[in-house]
Symmetry: C2
Subunit: 105 residues, 2 copies
């Protein structure tokens, strides 16, 4: 456990062009539910890209989660509710990017 | 100005294979200095990827900045100190990804 540092889990999605707004919303709602189902998630926020720089490489959604330890992350990743979320996401997903990091100032 | 929402600026770098640890550190140090040079940056943290999922697409570094408004972001992007940082980064950069978002819960 590294003092005041926390472990961030940054997840980005690019959805298929065929995904409808309703289908995308079902993924957003399912992801938003995860912190209520998996207590190891200590922080959660998300949003859709509005960068004017044009460097998002097609990613539209960013989900920003916080864990207190790599052990907690190791509980999250195989968790049944996380797997169930993956099934909701799967049919609509074009690209996913995941970067995790211990916070530094 | 959207109430308690803040504007996140998520920047990821993949460095060239030829970039040395010292060169990469010079970029980290230059980025870390920006919040002292550009007051519109309200929050700053960063870290290097340790995700076990293998979905980082080569990105090793994530820098997570916070602005209070899109107007503040519009001051940051063309700011001379930000441009100067770009010059430090340029020779070593292979890939960059930028996604910004207004925070939602």
């Amino acid at each position: 456990q590294k003092s005041d540092k926390v472990l961030r889990h940054v997840v980005m999605f690019k959805f298929k062009d065929t995904a409808t707004p309703a289908q995308i919303k079902s993924v957003e709602d399912a992801f938003r539910k995860l912190p209520t189902q998996i207590k190891e998630i200590k922080g959660y926020e998300w949003g859709t890209n509005n960068s004017p720089e044009g460097l998002a490489q097609g990613f539209t959604h960013c989900f920003f989660l916080t864990f207190n330890s790599e052990a907690d992350r190791a509980i999250y990743l195989p968790h049944p509710d996380h797997k169930a979320f993956g099934k909701v996401l799967g049919p609509y997903l074009d690209k996913v990017l995941v970067v995790d990091y211990w916070t530094q100032k």
